[in-house]
Subunit: 118 residues, 2 copies
Amino acid sequence: MKGLGELERSIMDILWAQSTALTAREVGRLIADRDLAPTTVMTVLDRLTRKGFLHRTRDGRAWRYAPAATRDAYVAELMLEALDMTGDRSAALTRFAQAVSGPEAEILRRALTELEDE
Amino acid sequence: MKGLGELERSIMDILWAQSTALTAREVGRLIADRDLAPTTVMTVLDRLTRKGFLHRTRDGRAWRYAPAATRDAYVAELMLEALDMTGDRSAALTRFAQAVSGPEAEILRRALTELEDE
DNA sequence: ATGCGTGCTCGACAGGTCGTAGTACTACGC
DNA sequence: GCGTAGTACTACGACCTGTCGAGCACGCAT
């Protein structure tokens, strides 16, 4: 997987926060603080689609964009990808476990316990 | 933190695999399969140093390069960085836990348990 | 049918990163 | 003093990302 640029991430954030698919225009309105040309938004939306981060469906003449995966899935995938980079996965995992702060360690522990129960 | 390019990663891999600090020449010899100009190796070593991935110390006229951190620390940091990207950390963590394969879940579980004991 | 607005696709350009390397300067040993 | 090893500086092409403009298509109101 490829990483995302600054603007690409902002746009993904907007779409992830939304429950419905949005048009380029709508995304542009939501990202108004940056005062971008409409074509800029369209281009980025297009690139994100090409990269597989978004799906789009027709809505009249316009496209409506929605995330291809949830943000959590994306984040988890990034984490796994990082993990793949090491030769010694268990060392990295151990290290990671140690680095996770208390409450989050608890969350992890619980998720792992549930796994075990299934 | 920034990501690493292809060659940068290869060189980090070499240095991570080594227990002693190496000179540019030595690194070049170890990466011989790619038949790079010596200056190429030096440049990359230099960039890695500037980016903070390596430390270097003088050895006569030459520099001797060593990783600034272990690979595991680097990987763990990447994973945490990915985690920071989400709004809902616990969802991402849960997702991650589910994605980790059996034996690795076991490793994680054990690391977390040890944490708890301290 | 004409023209305006909306939306699309293509192409482009600038700034940054990365792989790759040449050149020019320096210091050490023989 | 000269060759060699090693450095620093500079460069260049490819690719990525942010940012748009130009030009084309379509539908609605006049």
